[in-house]
Symmetry: C2
Subunit: 156 residues, 2 copies
C-alpha cells in the first residue's frame, strides 16, 4: 500500500522557482529580464497608444529614411505581412508615409513625417527612462557591460 502523493504546504512555496537548472540557463534569465523590461516599456508607451514594435519601426525609419517595407521587416525581425497593419497604423496617425518609388513602382520608400520625427524624439526619452528604471539594480558600469555582452550575442 504505497502511499500516493501528498500535497505540500502551499505556504512553503512563496515563489516556487527555487533553485535548479533553470537558474543556470542564460536563456531563462534572458527571458525573465526581457519580460520585465518589455512590460515596463509597454506600460509607458500605452498612453501614446503605441506598441514597442511601432516605436522600433519609427526609430528604424528615422535612421534609414526611404527604406522599403521588406527592409523594415528584416530590421524588425518580423515577416513582411506583419509590416502592413503596423505601417497602416503609423500612416493613419500621420507619423510616417509611404512614397511610391519612381524607378520601381512596386515598392514604396518609407519616411517619417515632421510630427513623426517630433514624437520619436519624445519617445526616445521615454524609452531611455524605461530602460533605466527597469535596470535600476545595476550601476552605470554594469549596464554598459551588459549591453556589450548582449550585443555580442545577437550580432552573430
Amino acid at each position: 500500500m504505497a502511499k500516493p502523493a501528498q500535497t505540500v504546504d502551499a505556504t512553503s512555496i512563496p515563489i516556487p522557482a527555487g533553485e535548479g537548472v533553470l537558474e543556470d540557463l542564460i536563456g531563462y534569465a534572458l527571458r525573465r529580464a526581457q519580460l520585465k523590461l518589455f512590460q515596463n516599456l509597454i506600460a509607458r508607451l500605452s498612453s501614446y497608444d503605441l506598441r514597442p514594435a511601432q516605436f522600433s519601426a519609427l526609430a528604424i525609419i528615422d535612421q534609414n529614411p526611404g527604406l522599403m517595407q521588406a527592409d523594415l521587416a528584416r530590421a524588425l525581425a518580423i515577416e513582411p505581412p506583419q509590416v502592413v497593419p503596423l505601417l497602416n497604423k503609423l500612416e493613419e496617425r500621420t507619423l510616417a508615409v509611404r512614397v511610391r518609388s519612381k524607378p520601381d513602382k512596386r515598392s514604396y520608400g518609407i519616411y517619417l513625417s515632421k510630427p513623426g520625427e517630433a514624437l520619436l524624439k519624445e519617445l526616445k526619452k521615454i524609452a531611455c527612462e524605461s530602460d533605466r528604471e527597469a535596470t535600476a539594480q545595476l550601476n552605470e558600469e554594469e549596464r554598459e557591460l551588459l549591453l556589450k555582452l548582449l550585443t555580442k550575442i545577437y550580432k552573430e
Copy 2:
C-alpha cells in the same frame, strides 16, 4: 517644388538597423538576444514535441513536487488558465500527474512520473547545450557575468 522622397538603394541597407537609439537600449538588446536563444531551444525541443514552457514546467515540478497549479502558474509567469492545456499535454504523455489533494479536494498536487523524470534529465542536457551554442561568442567568464547581471535585474 520640393523634391518628394526618393527611394534609397536597397543594397545600401544590408541589415537596416544601423546605429541609433535602439542600439543603446538594454531592452532592445535583451529582446534580440532572447529571441536568438529561444529559437535555438525551440528547434532543439521540437524533436520531443515540446515547447520551452513545457520544459520549464517539468523542471519546476521536479524542484517543487506536489505543488499546486496556481503555484506553477506563478513560477512560469503565466495565468492559471494557461496551465490547464499545458498540464493536460504533460499528463497525456504520462510525464506528469495531477493528484487530488486529500485535505482540500479542490486542488491538485502535481508530480513528475518516472518517465517524466528520465526525460527531464535528458532535456536538461539539451537545454544546456542550446544555451552554450547560442552564446558561443562569450567565454566562460563572460557567460557567468552575464547570468549574474540578468539575475540581478529580474529578481527585483
